[in-house]
Symmetry: C2
Protein backbone atom coordinates (compact mmCIF):
# COMPACT_ATOMS: atom_id res chain seq x y z
CA UNK A 1 0.00 0.00 0.00
CA UNK A 2 1.05 3.60 -0.48
CA UNK A 3 3.16 4.33 2.54
CA UNK A 4 0.80 3.56 5.41
CA UNK A 5 1.71 5.08 8.76
CA UNK A 6 4.72 3.37 10.30
CA UNK A 7 5.55 2.59 13.90
CA UNK A 8 4.52 -0.11 16.33
CA UNK A 9 0.83 0.70 16.63
CA UNK A 10 -1.31 -1.94 14.93
CA UNK A 11 -2.69 -1.06 11.52
CA UNK A 12 -6.40 -0.25 11.66
CA UNK A 13 -9.13 -0.77 9.09
CA UNK A 14 -12.74 -0.08 8.16
CA UNK A 15 -15.05 -1.95 5.79
CA UNK A 16 -17.45 0.00 3.57
CA UNK A 17 -20.17 -2.18 2.06
CA UNK A 18 -21.86 -0.49 -0.90
CA UNK A 19 -25.22 -1.74 -2.07
CA UNK A 20 -28.98 -1.21 -1.93
CA UNK A 21 -29.44 -4.98 -1.77
CA UNK A 22 -27.99 -5.13 1.74
CA UNK A 23 -30.12 -2.25 3.08
CA UNK A 24 -33.33 -3.60 1.52
CA UNK A 25 -32.84 -6.91 3.33
CA UNK A 26 -32.58 -8.83 0.05
CA UNK A 27 -29.00 -9.97 0.60
CA UNK A 28 -27.21 -11.07 3.75
CA UNK A 29 -23.80 -9.38 3.82
CA UNK A 30 -21.09 -11.95 4.55
CA UNK A 31 -18.15 -9.94 3.20
CA UNK A 32 -17.67 -7.94 6.39
CA UNK A 33 -17.18 -11.05 8.46
CA UNK A 34 -14.82 -12.56 5.89
CA UNK A 35 -12.67 -9.43 5.80
CA UNK A 36 -12.83 -9.16 9.62
CA UNK A 37 -11.54 -12.70 10.05
CA UNK A 38 -8.90 -12.21 7.34
CA UNK A 39 -7.57 -9.02 8.96
CA UNK A 40 -7.59 -10.60 12.43
CA UNK A 41 -5.32 -13.34 11.11
CA UNK A 42 -2.69 -10.82 9.98
CA UNK A 43 -2.94 -8.53 12.99
CA UNK A 44 -4.84 -5.64 11.41
CA UNK A 45 -7.57 -4.24 13.69
CA UNK A 46 -10.96 -3.81 12.05
CA UNK A 47 -12.49 -0.86 13.92
CA UNK A 48 -15.65 -0.02 12.02
CA UNK A 49 -17.96 -1.17 9.24
CA UNK A 50 -20.58 0.77 7.33
CA UNK A 51 -23.22 -0.08 4.76
CA UNK A 52 -24.34 2.67 2.37
CA UNK A 53 -26.68 2.63 -0.64
CA UNK A 54 -25.71 2.90 -4.33
CA UNK A 55 -25.75 6.68 -4.07
CA UNK A 56 -22.70 8.73 -5.02
CA UNK A 57 -22.82 11.46 -2.34
CA UNK A 58 -23.34 8.81 0.36
CA UNK A 59 -20.40 6.74 -0.86
CA UNK A 60 -18.13 9.79 -1.14
CA UNK A 61 -18.99 11.05 2.35
CA UNK A 62 -18.53 7.67 4.03
CA UNK A 63 -15.30 6.98 2.17
CA UNK A 64 -13.78 10.33 3.08
CA UNK A 65 -14.76 9.93 6.74
CA UNK A 66 -13.27 6.44 6.94
CA UNK A 67 -10.07 6.93 4.93
CA UNK A 68 -9.12 9.90 7.08
CA UNK A 69 -9.40 7.82 10.19
CA UNK A 70 -8.03 4.32 9.55
CA UNK A 71 -4.89 2.83 8.03
CA UNK A 72 -6.93 0.96 5.42
CA UNK A 73 -10.47 1.06 4.04
CA UNK A 74 -11.86 -1.95 2.18
CA UNK A 75 -14.93 -1.39 0.02
CA UNK A 76 -17.10 -4.12 -1.47
CA UNK A 77 -19.70 -3.81 -4.22
CA UNK A 78 -20.54 -1.62 -7.17
CA UNK A 79 -17.72 -2.35 -9.63
CA UNK A 80 -19.59 -4.46 -12.21
CA UNK A 81 -20.78 -3.62 -15.74
CA UNK A 82 -24.31 -2.36 -14.98
CA UNK A 83 -25.61 1.18 -14.49
CA UNK A 84 -25.96 0.69 -10.72
CA UNK A 85 -22.21 0.01 -10.41
CA UNK A 86 -21.05 3.49 -9.46
CA UNK A 87 -18.31 2.80 -6.92
CA UNK A 88 -15.25 3.63 -9.13
CA UNK A 89 -16.70 7.03 -10.05
CA UNK A 90 -17.54 7.74 -6.40
CA UNK A 91 -14.01 6.79 -5.31
CA UNK A 92 -12.50 9.06 -7.98
CA UNK A 93 -14.69 11.90 -6.75
CA UNK A 94 -13.72 11.25 -3.12
CA UNK A 95 -10.02 11.49 -4.06
CA UNK A 96 -10.57 14.38 -6.47
CA UNK A 97 -8.91 12.54 -9.37
CA UNK A 98 -10.02 11.80 -12.91
CA UNK A 99 -11.37 8.46 -14.00
CA UNK A 100 -11.11 6.77 -17.38
CA UNK A 101 -10.57 3.52 -19.20
CA UNK A 102 -7.36 1.89 -18.02
CA UNK A 103 -5.39 -0.04 -20.68
CA UNK A 104 -4.07 -2.46 -18.04
CA UNK A 105 -7.65 -3.28 -17.00
CA UNK A 106 -8.70 -3.72 -20.65
CA UNK A 107 -5.83 -6.19 -21.04
CA UNK A 108 -7.12 -8.21 -18.07
CA UNK A 109 -10.66 -8.24 -19.47
CA UNK A 110 -9.28 -9.52 -22.81
CA UNK A 111 -8.15 -12.66 -20.94
CA UNK A 112 -11.84 -13.49 -20.61
CA UNK A 113 -13.72 -11.63 -23.33
CA UNK A 114 -13.35 -11.57 -27.11
CA UNK A 115 -13.11 -8.20 -28.83
CA UNK A 116 -16.76 -8.53 -29.81
CA UNK A 117 -17.85 -9.36 -26.26
CA UNK A 118 -15.95 -6.35 -24.93
CA UNK A 119 -18.91 -4.00 -25.44
CA UNK A 120 -19.27 -0.57 -23.76
CA UNK A 121 -20.90 -2.15 -20.66
CA UNK A 122 -18.02 -4.55 -20.10
CA UNK A 123 -15.47 -1.82 -20.86
CA UNK A 124 -17.09 0.04 -17.96
CA UNK A 125 -15.35 -2.48 -15.70
CA UNK A 126 -12.03 -1.00 -16.89
CA UNK A 127 -12.88 2.48 -15.61
CA UNK A 128 -10.23 3.09 -12.95
CA UNK A 129 -9.42 6.31 -11.07
CA UNK A 130 -6.15 7.97 -12.11
CA UNK A 131 -3.23 6.86 -9.95
CA UNK A 132 -4.82 3.62 -8.72
CA UNK A 133 -3.10 0.24 -8.79
CA UNK A 134 -5.11 -2.69 -10.12
CA UNK A 135 -6.06 -5.65 -7.94
CA UNK A 136 -6.15 -8.88 -9.90
CA UNK A 137 -8.84 -11.46 -9.36
CA UNK A 138 -8.73 -14.97 -10.68
CA UNK A 139 -12.47 -15.54 -10.54
CA UNK A 140 -13.85 -13.00 -13.06
CA UNK A 141 -10.73 -11.20 -14.41
CA UNK A 142 -12.35 -7.77 -13.88
CA UNK A 143 -9.91 -6.08 -11.49
CA UNK A 144 -10.48 -4.21 -8.28
CA UNK A 145 -8.08 -1.40 -7.45
CA UNK A 146 -6.42 0.42 -4.63
CA UNK A 147 -5.82 4.11 -4.37
CA UNK A 148 -4.21 5.81 -1.40
CA UNK A 149 -5.26 3.69 1.57
CA UNK A 150 -8.50 2.45 -0.03
CA UNK A 151 -8.91 -1.03 -1.52
CA UNK A 152 -11.91 -1.32 -3.84
CA UNK A 153 -13.29 -4.83 -4.28
CA UNK A 154 -16.25 -6.64 -5.82
CA UNK A 155 -19.42 -7.48 -3.91
CA UNK A 156 -19.74 -11.07 -5.10
CA UNK A 157 -18.07 -13.03 -2.28
CA UNK A 158 -15.90 -15.38 -4.38
CA UNK A 159 -14.54 -12.45 -6.38
CA UNK A 160 -13.97 -10.31 -3.29
CA UNK A 161 -12.12 -13.20 -1.65
CA UNK A 162 -9.87 -13.58 -4.67
CA UNK A 163 -9.06 -9.86 -4.48
CA UNK A 164 -8.38 -10.10 -0.74
CA UNK A 165 -5.87 -12.86 -1.47
CA UNK A 166 -4.14 -10.50 -3.91
CA UNK A 167 -3.89 -7.52 -1.55
CA UNK A 168 -3.45 -9.41 1.73
CA UNK A 169 0.32 -9.97 1.41
CA UNK A 170 0.82 -6.25 0.70
CA UNK A 171 -0.88 -5.04 3.87
CA UNK A 172 1.10 -3.95 6.90
CA UNK A 173 0.60 -6.91 9.17
CA UNK A 174 1.25 -6.83 12.88
CA UNK A 175 1.16 -8.90 16.03
CA UNK A 176 -1.92 -11.08 15.88
CA UNK A 177 -4.48 -10.78 18.65
CA UNK A 178 -4.64 -14.18 20.33
CA UNK A 179 -8.09 -15.43 21.26
CA UNK A 180 -9.20 -17.84 23.99
CA UNK A 181 -12.77 -19.04 24.17
CA UNK A 182 -14.17 -20.62 27.34
CA UNK A 183 -17.50 -22.39 27.38
CA UNK A 184 -19.58 -21.29 30.33
CA UNK A 185 -22.26 -23.77 29.30
CA UNK A 186 -25.52 -23.16 31.12
CA UNK A 187 -24.00 -20.99 33.87
CA UNK A 188 -26.02 -17.76 33.53
CA UNK A 189 -24.25 -14.53 32.58
CA UNK A 190 -25.81 -12.91 35.64
CA UNK A 191 -24.02 -15.43 37.86
CA UNK A 192 -20.51 -14.85 36.55
CA UNK A 193 -20.80 -11.19 35.54
CA UNK A 194 -19.42 -9.71 38.77
CA UNK A 195 -16.48 -12.13 38.90
CA UNK A 196 -15.77 -11.51 35.24
CA UNK A 197 -15.80 -7.75 35.72
CA UNK A 198 -13.20 -8.08 38.48
CA UNK A 199 -10.99 -10.21 36.20
CA UNK A 200 -11.37 -7.66 33.40
CA UNK A 201 -10.35 -4.91 35.80
CA UNK A 202 -7.20 -6.75 36.93
CA UNK A 203 -6.20 -7.83 33.40
CA UNK A 204 -6.69 -4.55 31.61
CA UNK A 205 -4.65 -5.52 28.55
CA UNK A 206 -7.08 -8.36 27.89
CA UNK A 207 -10.41 -7.65 26.22
CA UNK A 208 -13.09 -9.90 27.69
CA UNK A 209 -16.54 -10.42 26.20
CA UNK A 210 -19.49 -12.58 27.20
CA UNK A 211 -21.77 -13.99 24.50
CA UNK A 212 -25.06 -15.74 25.14
CA UNK A 213 -26.64 -17.98 22.55
CA UNK A 214 -30.16 -19.40 22.55
CA UNK A 215 -30.07 -23.11 21.73
CA UNK A 216 -32.61 -25.94 21.74
CA UNK A 217 -31.26 -26.84 25.21
CA UNK A 218 -31.65 -23.29 26.52
CA UNK A 219 -29.21 -20.41 26.87
CA UNK A 220 -25.53 -21.29 26.45
CA UNK A 221 -22.78 -18.77 27.16
CA UNK A 222 -19.26 -18.31 25.92
CA UNK A 223 -16.56 -16.04 27.31
CA UNK A 224 -14.05 -14.76 24.79
CA UNK A 225 -10.68 -13.27 25.80
CA UNK A 226 -8.55 -11.35 23.29
CA UNK A 227 -5.10 -9.83 23.71
CA UNK A 228 -1.74 -9.23 22.06
CA UNK A 229 -0.14 -9.94 25.48
CA UNK A 230 0.32 -13.73 25.66
CA UNK A 231 1.21 -13.88 29.36
CA UNK A 232 -1.67 -11.60 30.31
CA UNK A 233 -4.05 -13.66 28.22
CA UNK A 234 -2.95 -16.91 29.85
CA UNK A 235 -3.36 -15.43 33.33
CA UNK A 236 -6.81 -14.02 32.57
CA UNK A 237 -7.85 -17.32 31.01
CA UNK A 238 -6.83 -19.20 34.15
CA UNK A 239 -8.75 -16.74 36.33
CA UNK A 240 -11.91 -17.17 34.24
CA UNK A 241 -11.50 -20.96 34.25
CA UNK A 242 -11.30 -20.95 38.07
CA UNK A 243 -14.33 -18.69 38.32
CA UNK A 244 -16.40 -21.03 36.14
CA UNK A 245 -15.27 -24.13 38.06
CA UNK A 246 -16.24 -22.48 41.37
CA UNK A 247 -19.64 -21.48 40.04
CA UNK A 248 -20.30 -24.93 38.55
CA UNK A 249 -19.40 -26.53 41.90
CA UNK A 250 -21.72 -24.23 43.88
CA UNK A 251 -24.67 -24.63 41.48
CA UNK B 1 -42.19 7.07 19.12
CA UNK B 2 -41.64 10.61 20.31
CA UNK B 3 -43.21 12.67 17.60
CA UNK B 4 -41.25 11.67 14.52
CA UNK B 5 -41.33 14.07 11.61
CA UNK B 6 -44.66 14.09 9.82
CA UNK B 7 -45.51 14.55 6.16
CA UNK B 8 -45.57 12.27 3.16
CA UNK B 9 -41.86 11.56 2.88
CA UNK B 10 -41.09 7.99 3.90
CA UNK B 11 -39.63 7.49 7.35
CA UNK B 12 -35.91 6.70 7.24
CA UNK B 13 -33.76 4.58 9.50
CA UNK B 14 -30.25 3.50 10.38
CA UNK B 15 -29.02 0.41 12.20
CA UNK B 16 -26.13 0.68 14.66
CA UNK B 17 -24.62 -2.70 15.55
CA UNK B 18 -22.52 -2.51 18.72
CA UNK B 19 -20.04 -5.25 19.45
CA UNK B 20 -16.39 -6.31 19.25
CA UNK B 21 -17.51 -9.82 18.28
CA UNK B 22 -18.73 -8.61 14.88
CA UNK B 23 -15.55 -6.65 14.08
CA UNK B 24 -13.27 -9.50 15.17
CA UNK B 25 -15.00 -11.85 12.73
CA UNK B 26 -16.17 -14.13 15.54
CA UNK B 27 -19.87 -13.55 14.94
CA UNK B 28 -21.82 -13.15 11.70
CA UNK B 29 -24.22 -10.23 12.16
CA UNK B 30 -27.71 -11.22 11.03
CA UNK B 31 -29.61 -8.51 12.91
CA UNK B 32 -29.07 -5.87 10.23
CA UNK B 33 -30.70 -7.99 7.58
CA UNK B 34 -33.60 -8.90 9.89
CA UNK B 35 -34.27 -5.25 10.72
CA UNK B 36 -33.84 -4.28 7.05
CA UNK B 37 -36.46 -6.79 5.94
CA UNK B 38 -38.78 -5.83 8.81
CA UNK B 39 -38.60 -2.13 7.96
CA UNK B 40 -39.07 -2.80 4.24
CA UNK B 41 -42.33 -4.57 5.06
CA UNK B 42 -43.73 -1.50 6.80
CA UNK B 43 -42.42 1.06 4.34
CA UNK B 44 -39.57 2.52 6.39
CA UNK B 45 -36.40 3.12 4.34
CA UNK B 46 -33.22 1.75 5.87
CA UNK B 47 -30.52 4.12 4.60
CA UNK B 48 -27.40 3.16 6.49
CA UNK B 49 -25.89 0.61 8.86
CA UNK B 50 -22.79 0.84 11.00
CA UNK B 51 -20.86 -1.52 13.22
CA UNK B 52 -18.82 -0.06 16.08
CA UNK B 53 -16.84 -1.69 18.90
CA UNK B 54 -17.77 -1.81 22.61
CA UNK B 55 -16.17 1.57 23.14
CA UNK B 56 -18.13 4.44 24.65
CA UNK B 57 -16.78 7.37 22.60
CA UNK B 58 -17.28 5.37 19.39
CA UNK B 59 -20.86 4.50 20.28
CA UNK B 60 -21.68 8.08 21.30
CA UNK B 61 -20.21 9.57 18.11
CA UNK B 62 -21.96 7.13 15.79
CA UNK B 63 -25.27 7.46 17.60
CA UNK B 64 -25.22 11.25 17.50
CA UNK B 65 -24.34 11.25 13.80
CA UNK B 66 -27.12 8.81 12.92
CA UNK B 67 -29.91 10.15 15.14
CA UNK B 68 -29.46 13.64 13.71
CA UNK B 69 -29.92 12.31 10.22
CA UNK B 70 -32.64 9.64 10.17
CA UNK B 71 -36.19 9.30 11.48
CA UNK B 72 -35.22 6.25 13.54
CA UNK B 73 -32.02 4.60 14.76
CA UNK B 74 -32.08 0.95 15.87
CA UNK B 75 -29.15 -0.26 17.95
CA UNK B 76 -28.36 -3.89 18.73
CA UNK B 77 -26.00 -5.25 21.37
CA UNK B 78 -24.47 -4.28 24.67
CA UNK B 79 -27.45 -4.28 27.05
CA UNK B 80 -26.74 -7.46 29.04
CA UNK B 81 -25.46 -7.97 32.60
CA UNK B 82 -21.70 -8.15 31.96
CA UNK B 83 -19.03 -5.43 32.16
CA UNK B 84 -18.75 -5.22 28.36
CA UNK B 85 -22.42 -4.20 28.10
CA UNK B 86 -21.99 -0.45 27.96
CA UNK B 87 -24.66 0.60 25.46
CA UNK B 88 -27.18 2.13 27.93
CA UNK B 89 -24.51 4.35 29.49
CA UNK B 90 -23.30 5.41 26.03
CA UNK B 91 -26.85 6.26 24.95
CA UNK B 92 -27.40 8.33 28.10
CA UNK B 93 -24.18 10.20 27.38
CA UNK B 94 -25.18 10.80 23.74
CA UNK B 95 -28.48 12.33 24.90
CA UNK B 96 -26.90 14.15 27.84
CA UNK B 97 -29.29 12.60 30.36
CA UNK B 98 -28.75 10.74 33.61
CA UNK B 99 -28.95 6.97 33.90
CA UNK B 100 -30.02 4.88 36.86
CA UNK B 101 -31.95 1.83 37.98
CA UNK B 102 -35.48 1.97 36.62
CA UNK B 103 -38.18 0.51 38.90
CA UNK B 104 -40.27 -0.53 35.88
CA UNK B 105 -37.32 -2.53 34.53
CA UNK B 106 -36.70 -4.11 37.94
CA UNK B 107 -40.36 -5.20 37.95
CA UNK B 108 -39.87 -6.88 34.56
CA UNK B 109 -36.74 -8.67 35.74
CA UNK B 110 -38.67 -9.96 38.79
CA UNK B 111 -40.90 -11.88 36.37
CA UNK B 112 -37.87 -14.06 35.68
CA UNK B 113 -35.53 -13.77 38.66
CA UNK B 114 -36.01 -14.35 42.38
CA UNK B 115 -34.90 -11.62 44.78
CA UNK B 116 -31.74 -13.62 45.49
CA UNK B 117 -30.96 -14.07 41.80
CA UNK B 118 -31.39 -10.34 41.22
CA UNK B 119 -27.75 -9.58 42.07
CA UNK B 120 -25.92 -6.35 41.14
CA UNK B 121 -24.96 -7.76 37.71
CA UNK B 122 -28.55 -8.58 36.79
CA UNK B 123 -29.77 -5.27 38.22
CA UNK B 124 -27.39 -3.68 35.72
CA UNK B 125 -29.93 -4.70 33.06
CA UNK B 126 -32.38 -2.28 34.70
CA UNK B 127 -30.10 0.72 34.13
CA UNK B 128 -32.15 2.92 31.80
CA UNK B 129 -31.46 6.50 30.66
CA UNK B 130 -33.80 9.10 32.20
CA UNK B 131 -36.82 9.77 29.99
CA UNK B 132 -36.67 6.52 28.04
CA UNK B 133 -39.62 4.22 27.46
CA UNK B 134 -39.08 0.51 28.05
CA UNK B 135 -39.34 -2.05 25.25
CA UNK B 136 -40.68 -5.36 26.49
CA UNK B 137 -39.27 -8.63 25.29
CA UNK B 138 -40.88 -11.99 25.85
CA UNK B 139 -37.69 -14.00 25.40
CA UNK B 140 -35.51 -12.86 28.33
CA UNK B 141 -37.67 -10.25 30.18
CA UNK B 142 -34.75 -7.78 30.30
CA UNK B 143 -36.16 -4.77 28.46
CA UNK B 144 -34.74 -2.67 25.68
CA UNK B 145 -35.72 1.00 25.57
CA UNK B 146 -36.33 3.88 23.28
CA UNK B 147 -35.36 7.45 23.83
CA UNK B 148 -35.99 10.24 21.35
CA UNK B 149 -35.77 8.56 17.96
CA UNK B 150 -33.42 5.80 19.12
CA UNK B 151 -34.56 2.23 19.82
CA UNK B 152 -32.04 0.24 21.89
CA UNK B 153 -32.26 -3.53 21.51
CA UNK B 154 -30.37 -6.68 22.50
CA UNK B 155 -27.76 -8.32 20.30
CA UNK B 156 -29.00 -11.90 20.70
CA UNK B 157 -31.19 -12.36 17.61
CA UNK B 158 -34.24 -13.98 19.26
CA UNK B 159 -34.36 -11.24 21.91
CA UNK B 160 -33.85 -8.47 19.35
CA UNK B 161 -36.65 -9.92 17.23
CA UNK B 162 -38.99 -9.96 20.22
CA UNK B 163 -38.19 -6.29 20.84
CA UNK B 164 -38.73 -5.45 17.18
CA UNK B 165 -42.19 -7.00 17.42
CA UNK B 166 -42.90 -4.72 20.39
CA UNK B 167 -41.79 -1.48 18.71
CA UNK B 168 -42.81 -2.29 15.13
CA UNK B 169 -46.48 -1.30 15.50
CA UNK B 170 -45.47 2.06 16.99
CA UNK B 171 -43.26 3.09 14.07
CA UNK B 172 -44.48 5.51 11.43
CA UNK B 173 -45.18 3.15 8.57
CA UNK B 174 -45.55 4.27 4.99
CA UNK B 175 -46.18 3.08 1.48
CA UNK B 176 -44.28 -0.15 1.00
CA UNK B 177 -41.71 -0.36 -1.77
CA UNK B 178 -42.89 -3.08 -4.13
CA UNK B 179 -40.24 -5.42 -5.47
CA UNK B 180 -40.09 -7.43 -8.69
CA UNK B 181 -37.32 -9.93 -9.29
CA UNK B 182 -36.56 -11.23 -12.78
CA UNK B 183 -34.25 -14.16 -13.36
CA UNK B 184 -31.77 -13.43 -16.11
CA UNK B 185 -30.43 -16.96 -15.74
CA UNK B 186 -27.12 -17.39 -17.55
CA UNK B 187 -27.46 -14.25 -19.71
CA UNK B 188 -24.30 -12.30 -18.76
CA UNK B 189 -24.62 -8.91 -17.07
CA UNK B 190 -22.38 -7.48 -19.77
CA UNK B 191 -24.94 -8.49 -22.41
CA UNK B 192 -27.96 -6.80 -20.84
CA UNK B 193 -26.23 -3.90 -19.08
CA UNK B 194 -26.72 -1.36 -21.86
CA UNK B 195 -30.38 -2.23 -22.38
CA UNK B 196 -30.96 -2.17 -18.63
CA UNK B 197 -29.35 1.25 -18.30
CA UNK B 198 -31.71 2.61 -20.95
CA UNK B 199 -34.71 1.16 -19.09
CA UNK B 200 -33.45 2.67 -15.83
CA UNK B 201 -33.13 6.04 -17.55
CA UNK B 202 -36.70 5.94 -18.90
CA UNK B 203 -38.22 4.66 -15.64
CA UNK B 204 -36.51 7.00 -13.24
CA UNK B 205 -38.90 6.33 -10.34
CA UNK B 206 -37.91 2.66 -10.41
CA UNK B 207 -34.66 1.57 -8.77
CA UNK B 208 -33.09 -1.23 -10.81
CA UNK B 209 -30.25 -3.44 -9.61
CA UNK B 210 -28.39 -6.34 -11.18
CA UNK B 211 -27.03 -9.10 -8.95
CA UNK B 212 -24.72 -11.88 -10.10
CA UNK B 213 -24.35 -15.06 -8.14
CA UNK B 214 -21.73 -17.77 -8.61
CA UNK B 215 -23.40 -21.19 -8.58
CA UNK B 216 -22.25 -24.74 -9.33
CA UNK B 217 -23.69 -24.25 -12.84
CA UNK B 218 -21.80 -20.99 -13.39
CA UNK B 219 -22.80 -17.36 -12.99
CA UNK B 220 -26.53 -16.72 -12.60
CA UNK B 221 -27.97 -13.20 -12.61
CA UNK B 222 -31.04 -11.59 -11.12
CA UNK B 223 -32.49 -8.18 -11.89
CA UNK B 224 -34.36 -6.53 -9.03
CA UNK B 225 -36.77 -3.62 -9.55
CA UNK B 226 -38.02 -1.57 -6.59
CA UNK B 227 -40.51 1.30 -6.53
CA UNK B 228 -43.39 2.87 -4.64
CA UNK B 229 -44.99 3.63 -8.06
CA UNK B 230 -46.96 0.51 -9.00
CA UNK B 231 -47.65 1.52 -12.62
CA UNK B 232 -44.06 2.55 -13.20
CA UNK B 233 -42.84 -0.69 -11.69
CA UNK B 234 -45.10 -2.78 -13.92
CA UNK B 235 -43.96 -0.90 -17.03
CA UNK B 236 -40.29 -1.26 -16.16
CA UNK B 237 -40.77 -4.92 -15.39
CA UNK B 238 -42.32 -5.51 -18.79
CA UNK B 239 -39.46 -3.67 -20.49
CA UNK B 240 -36.87 -5.79 -18.69
CA UNK B 241 -38.79 -8.98 -19.49
CA UNK B 242 -38.78 -8.08 -23.21
CA UNK B 243 -35.08 -7.27 -23.10
CA UNK B 244 -34.27 -10.66 -21.58
CA UNK B 245 -36.49 -12.53 -24.07
CA UNK B 246 -34.77 -10.78 -26.99
CA UNK B 247 -31.32 -11.57 -25.62
CA UNK B 248 -32.22 -15.20 -24.96
CA UNK B 249 -33.56 -15.53 -28.53
CA UNK B 250 -30.42 -14.03 -30.08
CA UNK B 251 -28.01 -16.15 -27.99
Amino acid sequence: MNDPESGDAPATAAVLVIGDEILSGRTQDTNTRYIAAYLAQIGVDLREARVVPDDEPEIVAALNALRARYTYVFTTGGIGPTHDDITPDAVAKAFGVEIGEDPRAIAMLRERFTEEELNPARRRMARIPRGAELVRNGASKAPGFWIGNVVVMAGVPVIMQSMMDTVGPMLRSGAVIAVETLDAGAIPEGSYAMGLEEIARVHERVSIGSYPRFTAEGIRNQIVLRSRDAAGLAAAREAVRKLLVELAASA
